[in-house]
Assembly symmetry: C2
Homo-oligomer: 139 residues x 2
DNA sequence: GTAACTGCAAAATATTTGCATCCTT
DNA sequence: AAGGATGCAAATATTTTGCAGTTAC
């Protein structure tokens, strides 16, 4: 059962505005992670570019979405699930997959990041694993 | 024993120019990964910003350096070691660490990325693991 | 009604491209 | 000498900031 954008905004103590609802709905209905530009295209001249920047920033601060590291200088965002926020800080523990063929990035929600032993003196706070290759639909 | 920039350029069939030598030397003497801006600062008005862009691009194409994925929209580069290029494609198998305190990113050359089992239908080509936290010197 | 959100303009920053000149081989 | 590399100018793209008008509660 899908969450409703309004409920998410309410539980984050954000006022329910047209742009936030729209952008959140886009995330809720997207199977892939989204870059600023993706959202801009999906909004089709409906909202200002700046509003999208600010909305994404607000969602980040509230822990509604998280960023996915990438090598290509494009910040992509995906919805956090409930387990994402543990003891106050962001902590999403799943692998991200980036398809070389279709270019899409998705969260492999059921694929846990394996543990890794760091050299002495290093303390991990957050771990990201990004696998690139060919996805299910492109293979 | 450290490699020499000249040798690296020669073995990549690149002509030995002042800017390439300088930028490569910066990498050879840097314990951390470097962003375009870091290099610009270390060059101190010596080379044009565009030259640095193009040099980094060239080094990437030749497999001399690799990028490290990040969430902050900054592309950081680090030298590839010999094992980086396996069977024609880039394949660096070590963990990258990004320190929240000093902001530096380093290659943990001796920390291998653990294997991960992907869902059926997904085929990995390259795997990146970025751990953020507090590094040895900042702890 | 008030505080917060949005759109527009513009500034600041980052990256790419074209071209004439210079350097490496 | 020839081809490639560099520097400069400028085009393009991206992100941030300020402010006035609008909207949610």
């Amino acid at each position: 059962m899908k969450k409703l954008s309004g409920d998410i905004l309410k539980s984050s103590a954000l006022s329910i505005t047209s742009s936030r609802t729209k952008i959140l709905d886009i995330f809720l209905s997207s199977p892939t992670a989204l870059a600023h530009q993706d959202i801009e295209l999906k909004c089709k001249e409906k909202y200002d570019r700046v509003t999208i920047y600010r909305t994404l920033q607000t969602f980040m601060e509230k822990g509604i979405i998280h960023t996915i590291p990438s090598s290509d200088n494009i910040t992509r965002y995906a919805l956090c699930n409930d387990e994402c926020i543990v003891a106050g800080h962001h902590h999403d523990n799943h692998v991200h997959f980036s398809c070389d063929a279709c270019g899409k990035t998705i969260c492999l929600d059921d694929t846990q990041i394996p543990t890794v032993k760091l050299p002495i003196g290093y303390h991990a706070h957050e771990i990201n694993m990004i696998v690139s290759g060919v996805c299910k639909t492109c293979k």
